[in-house]
Amino acid sequence: MTALMTAEWIKIRSLRSTIWMLVLTVALSVGLAYLFGSSFRAGFDGMTAQARASFDPLFATFYSLTLGQLALVVLAAFVVTGEYSTGTISTSLVAVPRRGRFFGGKVLAGGLLAVAVALVTVPATFAAAQAGLGPHGTTFTSAGAPEAALGACLYLTLIYLFATGVAMVLRGPIPTLALLLPLLFLGSQGLGNVPRVKAVAQYLPDQAGMVVMHLAGPAGDPRFGRPYGPWLGLGIMALWTGAALLAGYVALRHRDA
């Protein structure tokens, strides 16, 4: 399995498109974290007293990940759909005819890469956001921060794997991105907070997973709050991810290549 994972990493490393998406994931997350931090800092004095009292610096810290994740999801989609759109899948499956092993290699290599990306992105995003927030920021040792950072790492890994599973079912880059990008982009733009939509949308993978990063507002808040806690939210996201990977495996196993 290590050999198969190494082969997958060579595939990723040897393409400009995938390298770009890796760079973009880190750059968007870190760069926007600084910008969002700075804009909160600039606007802080103009906020109402109530808003200032309930201001959560961790929201401002991790908000940029909702955009950085888009590049990570595109990477996951490319890693899978690039095989189908170019026909490389035939070569891959001739080299590794046991579909379960091929699937395992792809998922494990991608998952570990996502962990590595998260371990770079999350601390760097945290530091950039604090630099932007200045006096309104927080520290890594303050209450809730380590949990939120750990949650952010898990979130990025899960969203990568979720996208991998979806891409294995849909195969083409266009259907895959046409499903995933609106889902995640609208989510980041507040789809989960529109009252009618929220009842259902709050159980979507990204909406459930982002509670741990303080991106859904306090639990008691009628507009933003969720009927589940941060870890249960990640659990819901993990269920989505498991279901997507299972569907991807079944599709790979039973369809002709």
Partner: protein, 256 residues
């Protein structure tokens, strides 16, 4: 994972047993049986849509048969722990990611089957791609892509080689190079199966001929027998007469 490198070439027999592949609307391969022996080039002939590619894809485990089986050295393809060391295949020279260089393409492929990096260098050299090895495949000509596809097939030094239409779109030098390569691989004792829809090409390359039409076996013969038993003056004539009623015209559809 992979067993230690054996000595010499182990060239298995390819056995196609009562193979049927049915798609929703068409039968691509219909109770097809034939064997491919080591030490010679076997030409797999038939008009477009006769089922050659489907048969090869079943052989390589890419397509599941509706009925029947294909065995290589008595085993199914997916039972080999390191299949590239047993069987090499060129299916579609264009099925390579255009953004990747030849050397990177062979590198990941070698990794999957425990093939050393030295083999990548040697194989690139054998197909004459050493100088172009770091250029992205998207900039390759069709001839260069065919060479890369052949390098991928030869990577694991396999005893069984399968090539689907290897001379399609090649210039005369390329055609000749492939022909000589096929002959030398067979002379080394390997099992070589090449598909083509061109009798004229097979006449120069193949020792045996397996001719199919609409997924069925029409003839399993040698070049010499085809002329003498059927009483035709040229192979082209024999082939056209044999496959005439089986030719699937483009407008009629049909799977390859």
């Amino acid at each position: 994972m992979c067993p230690a490198r054996r000595c010499g070439i182990v060239a298995g027999v390819i056995e196609v047993n009562e193979l049927t592949k049915r798609y929703r609307d068409a039968v691509a391969v219909d109770e097809l049986s034939f064997t491919v022996e080591p030490g010679m080039v076997t030409g797999f002939l038939g008009p477009n849509g006769a089922g050659k590619t489907t048969t090869m894809r079943v052989l390589l485990g890419l397509v599941a048969p509706t009925a029947g089986e294909v065995l290589i050295g008595g085993r199914s393809y997916s039972s080999f722990p390191c299949p590239l060391r047993e069987v090499g295949a060129l299916l579609d020279a264009n099925a390579v990611h255009p953004g990747r260089s030849a050397v990177e393409h062979l590198r990941w492929l070698a990794r999957t089957n425990g093939i050393g990096p030295g083999r990548v260098v040697d194989t690139l050299d054998r197909v004459g791609l050493t100088e172009a090895a770091r250029i992205r495949v998207g900039r390759y000509s069709l001839g260069m892509r065919q060479r890369l596809g052949i390098a991928a097939a030869l990577l694991g030094d396999p005893g069984v080689l399968i090539f689907d239409e290897p001379v399609n779109g090649l210039d005369p030098q390329g055609v000749r190079w492939i022909r000589e390569l096929m002959r030398s691989l067979a002379a080394e004792g390997r099992t070589v199966l090449i598909s083509s829809h061109l009798m004229s090409e097979m006449e120069l390359t193949a020792d045996r001929l397996v001719i199919i039409g609409r997924g069925r076996l029409l003839m399993d013969t040698t070049i010499g027998e085809l002329i003498t038993t059927e009483g035709f003056t040229t192979l082209e004539e024999a082939y056209l007469s044999l496959t005439e009623e089986w030719t699937v015209h483009r407008a009629g559809g049909g799977h390859r």
